[in-house]
Symmetry: C2
Subunit: 275 residues, 2 copies
């Protein structure tokens, strides 16, 4: 049995990503309230972890980037989950009774238009499914939670509205992390590096990829705590780490950077926006 | 009198940035609870707005990036404020009485070590100074707020601990925005663009700068809502928009990009990390 640590409660989108990625196999899930807890539990006992890295509307989950840098775990895969947020409340509660809405910060942001239109007050919570669980276990009748339809079913809440996010093309990309980074035939690589702090150094670093014809899919700056206005850069490349052009690019990058770390090389998720 | 809209309440770090930037002049401040409100009020009545763009520990304030893209306002300046978070409570309340701590999401993140060490539960609030104001107007005696020493003084709260952020080198960079973008002798430029969606296009876009010897200080990807896994890129360059090399770079960038927008060209803030 594969032991998998995920971010969030039963019914969370991370759980959905785990079920989707590991499919029919026998799996044991461990639910973590905080992102660092997922990393810790994979380091100590679980075989895999599932963490959100990026949402197609809100952007990077920056804490995941910072944890990947600090940890020795490797990215071994990714999967994409369509986010369909539902508004849910205790049975008998109507939309007109609501004053507050609980959910994860990112979910509240994604449903901002709906929340403002219905003049509800947002209350940030650690997890979407966690807010549904809390509401189900309470006697609160002037608040709703925003979570997946699956969470409503699991916690016995009544769905008042479906697909309430501002943009229907709402997807979250999740990473699968593990102690061992071995993957067969990877075709995508995540790398973090810090450019030497001199004029043009970021460009010199990126040139290592262009020059070897490795295409960049994504680039992100993250601050280095304690040295204001200097950054670690995160990039996703569309090539596997064992391809010659990629090995050459990383070698060149090492020459022009203070530090380079390959976070993982894995198979790119298939993505169908009409799914 | 200059009318200036800022993010947050009296005693907020944005107010500190406004006082620092506009110095001794006669100014009238308008306090906005949400970031979009600052942009709206500068569009309709205020002369200037002051908004956070980046913290040296937590990174980009992504909502500000998205608002800059949507709005017709220009960046006309920047300033940097040292963040020194204090824990404050009602008079007579001791550290041992505390169960909860209220503050802005970013401030809570910056004080994570202190909060965990004292086993307090974090409650996110829209603003640091706002949480101090709320606490001062309440009878809550099992909670503290995290805000500036100035906020404690303004709202009559008792400071229980100073400088509780995990890293003492904690600074936030603020942008000054206005309807007119005219600045004398600017030496820094902020640009957003979307690269054409084909292999190597991000590199081609960045090459426009390298090739013209314009140095990049910062680069950020932000999702384009509705088109998953495509991005707008935000860059800061260390040259003013009227320098020939910068004009040439922007011209080349326009040729290789779907869209280009100069967000502003302004004077770079002096930064002394020992200040």
């Amino acid at each position: 049995m594969k032991r998998i640590s995920i971010y969030g409660e039963t019914g969370s989108y991370s759980e959905q990503a785990a079920l989707q990625y590991f499919g029919g196999g026998k799996i044991g899930l461990r639910y973590c309230k905080f992102l660092p807890e997922v990393f810790e539990s994979v380091e100590s006992e679980s075989d895999f972890g599932v963490v959100p890295i990026e949402n197609s509307i809100e952007g990077a989950v920056t804490q995941t980037y910072d944890l990947l840098l600090q940890s020795d775990l490797s990215i071994i895969g990714e999967d994409i989950v369509r986010i369909s947020h539902c508004l849910m409340a205790q049975r008998g509660v109507k939309l007109a009774n609501l004053k507050f809405v609980y959910s994860h910060q990112q979910a509240l942001a994604q449903c901002r238009d709906y929340i403002e239109r219905h003049r509800l007050e947002s209350v940030p919570f650690y997890d979407t499914a966690g807010s549904a669980k809390m509401l189900a276990g309470s006697r609160i009748r002037d608040a709703a939670a925003i979570a997946s339809a699956r969470a409503a079913k699991i916690y016995g809440l009544n769905v008042l509205a479906r697909d309430i996010q501002s943009n229907r093309h709402n997807y979250t990309r999740f990473l699968i992390i593990s102690k061992s980074g071995d993957v067969d035939n990877p075709d995508k690589t995540a790398i973090t590096f810090s450019a030497k702090n001199k004029s043009g150094s970021l460009f010199t670093a990126l040139n290592a990829f262009a020059h070897n014809k490795v295409n960049l899919l994504y680039i992100q700056s993250r601050p280095i705590p304690g040295t204001p206005w200097e950054y670690n850069f995160y990039i996703d490349c569309d090539s596997g780490i064992w391809e010659k052009k990629m090995r050459d690019a990383v070698k060149e990058l090492c020459e022009s950077s203070d530090f380079v770390k390959v976070l993982g090389s894995y198979k790119r998720a298939r993505f169908d926006r009409h799914a």
